[in-house]
């Protein structure tokens, strides 16, 4: 039973959600909205599991004096530092001027922006070490990348200023984006849609059940 009930739930719910697209009649018309509400509520409940897990692991590290246990203290402290004003502040917890919004603006934002920004360095390092014209495929990848990188900044047109209009780097970059690039995207999109249909069908039919613990 422990195995059958979840499979049954998955199958029935999946089929209903496929059908709702074709049935405008109540209650099918409401399914989409309900699901979005339910999912966000479940996710909000589930984050308790995650947060407790994070605390547990950090506490274990501290208790066992494992490597870098000091940082585990920092994790717990910073978690509490934002959670306490977050809950203590009531509904207006993130209005301008609150400590929560201060933390958001001056701690959270710079940290997440910088994490994003150091990608720039990794991109360059990857270009130097990994992007090799090993074969025709890789060469095409690099050539397309060149067109786009040069064509999308003013320098590109500076380099090809002598070419007639329509044949400058920015035009070529535009052509690559609009045609071969778009064609590739489209093939990938169609493939993904079909892969999704088949994966979803396998899940709904209960053939694919490893997410619920295998056969």
């Amino acid at each position: 039973m422990r195995r059958e009930i979840p499979l049954l739930i998955t199958g029935i719910v999946g089929a209903v959600f496929v059908l709702q697209y074709f049935i405008p009649h109540w209650p099918f018309s409401k399914m989409n909205a309900w699901f979005s509400d339910w999912f966000s509520i479940v996710a909000a409940f589930a984050i308790w599991l995650g947060a407790l897990n994070l605390m547990k692991i950090s506490l274990q590290k501290i208790a066992g004096r494992k490597e870098d246990w000091g940082y585990a203290i920092v994790i717990i402290v910073s978690f509490l530092v934002i959670v306490i004003p977050g809950f203590g502040g009531g509904q207006g917890y993130r209005e301008a001027g609150t400590f929560f919004s201060w933390l958001y603006e001056w701690v959270y934002t710079p940290l997440s922006s910088t994490m994003f920004a150091i990608l720039a360095f990794f991109v360059a390092s990857a270009s130097y070490r990994a992007f090799r014209a090993r074969n025709l495929e890789a060469t095409l990848l690099l050539v397309a990348a060149f067109f786009v990188m040069l064509g999308r900044v003013p320098v590109g047109d500076l380099l090809t200023g002598f070419m007639p209009t329509g044949w400058q780097l920015s035009d070529l970059a535009g052509w690559v984006m609009n045609f071969p690039q778009a064609a590739g995207q489209r093939a990938i999109m169609i493939g993904i849609a079909l892969g999704l249909v088949s994966t979803s069908l396998r899940i709904i039919l209960g053939i694919e059940r490893s997410h619920l613990g295998g056969e």
Binding site: F122, R129, T199, H211
Partner: protein, 414 residues
């Protein structure tokens, strides 16, 4: 003001005048007309009313919408004409008419939603100039209807059904023992090898299921592949490390690995600590995973699921610690980095095929055949469609025009 509305005329007229006055004030506030206010022009700018106001049921809904359409006032046929706005009035159950919607000049359509199918509604539309207005004839009372089937989507249903039936058919055929050929997918052939390498080196395997939640199918695919990988891993004595960024994914992954270990007959080797929640925040998560990579130096890294910007950091860091990396995602923007920095990459559809392929079970492989039927349909339709469209448009072949129109209609989704 001309009023052709039967019954309740005096009351209605009063109500209308009041409404007109109040809405006019409101308009004057919200849309100051510099020309008008400067000239203090009192000359009446008369307008013709909108005509042919028709109300019809909005098709294929739960009986809560009506469509109203009309021919714009003849003073609104040219841009910058005399009409400054339209106002839609509605009466519920033959009650009084109330203004419900203001529209820009040039409008000829209004969709009225959130209605009740037990009530009857009638409408009229008034055109306003700067200081005059003219109302249309009111429509007959109508109730919205609700339908059981979305007929416009019938073709989508049919095509989805054909592909689904193909999937069923091949799954059945496989069950009956028919031999189905599936070509080799390099990235998946390498999974066992990659796990073997970790065993030899005595280092852990790192499994990253992307950063989206369980409501993304790429994550589902990653979790199903995890099921296969965990089965193999359970047979060897290697450590699996799986930091995740969503609590639901943590739950699902634990469940998956646990069962894999049970099936392999070593439930004792399983521990909840294999899967660990870090944070929902994208880069907080990446920072932590990077730390794990640098400090624990896993021999094999799986990056399967929905990835965004972090793909590059993860793949580069994995590369720098010389791990074997098998990556896969359906997000085209992240694929170049996986292709450059990982040993094997599953592109788009291959990610979804992976769990079926790895299972090696005939019925799972059958579903891949079904997918191919879908691709075949797409290819045939595209070729026929383009030929038909080209012949029809360039050389005026009527039959081809019909084919072209038919295909465009069948594949339209609105």
């Amino acid at each position: 003001m001309r009023c052709r509305q039967p019954g309740h005329t005096p009351l209605l007229l009063l109500a209308l005048i009041l409404l007109f006055v109040s809405t006019d004030v409101c308009v004057a506030q919200s849309e100051p007309d510099p020309a008008g206010s400067l000239m203090a022009d009192t000359a009446r700018v008369t307008v013709a009313p909108p005509t042919s106001v028709i109300v019809t049921d909005h098709k294929y809904d739960n009986g809560d919408a009506l469509e109203l359409s009309w021919v714009p006032s003849i003073d609104d046929r040219i841009p910058g004409g005399k009409v400054v706005r339209y106002q839609v009035y509605r009466s519920v159950n033959e009650g009084e008419y109330l203004p419900i919607q203001e529209l820009l000049p040039g409008s000829n359509f209004f969709l009225d939603e959130s209605l009740h199918r037990d009530s009857v509604y009638s409408y009229y539309v008034t055109a306003y100039s700067r200081n005059d207005s003219a109302m249309s004839v009111a429509t007959a009372p109508v109730s919205p209807q609700r339908e059981w089937l979305h007929v416009d989507r019938a073709w989508l249903f049919v095509i989805a059904l054909i592909i689904s039936l193909a999937v069923f058919y091949f799954i059945r055929a496989a069950r009956k023992g028919e031999d189905l050929f599936i070509r080799k997918i390099a990235g998946l052939e390498a999974v066992d090898e990659a796990i073997g390498r970790a065993t030899e080196m005595g280092r852990p395997i790192l499994y990253i299921p992307g950063i989206l939640d369980m409501d993304d199918v790429q994550t589902l695919a990653a979790i199903t592949i995890l099921g296969r990988v965990a089965r193999t891993v359970a047979d060897y004595e290697i450590q699996v490390r799986m930091p995740v960024s969503r609590s639901l994914v943590m739950t699902a992954a634990r469940e998956t690995i646990k069962t894999a270990y049970q099936t392999a007959g070593r439930p004792d080797s399983y521990s909840d600590d294999m899967v660990q929640y870090v944070t929902d925040e994208q880069f907080g998560y990446v920072a932590a995973v990077d730390g794990i990579m640098v400090r624990e130096k896993p021999a094999t890294v799986f990056l399967l699921g929905a990835f965004f910007a972090e793909s590059l950091i993860l793949a580069e860091t994995g590369n720098s610690i010389n791990a074997i990396q098998i990556a896969g995602t359906a997000r085209p923007a992240q694929l170049p980095f996986f292709i450059a920095a990982c040993d094997f990459t599953l592109i788009g559809e291959e990610l979804f095929a992976a769990s079926a392929y790895l299972s090696g079970e005939p019925k799972q492989l059958g579903s891949l055949k079904g997918q191919d039927v879908g691709k075949f349909i797409a290819m045939v339709v595209i070729i026929i469609g383009v030929i038909a469209a080209t012949l029809a448009q360039a050389w005026e072949v009527p039959f081809m025009q019909q084919v072209y129109d038919a295909l465009t209609f069948v594949f339209s989704t609105q």
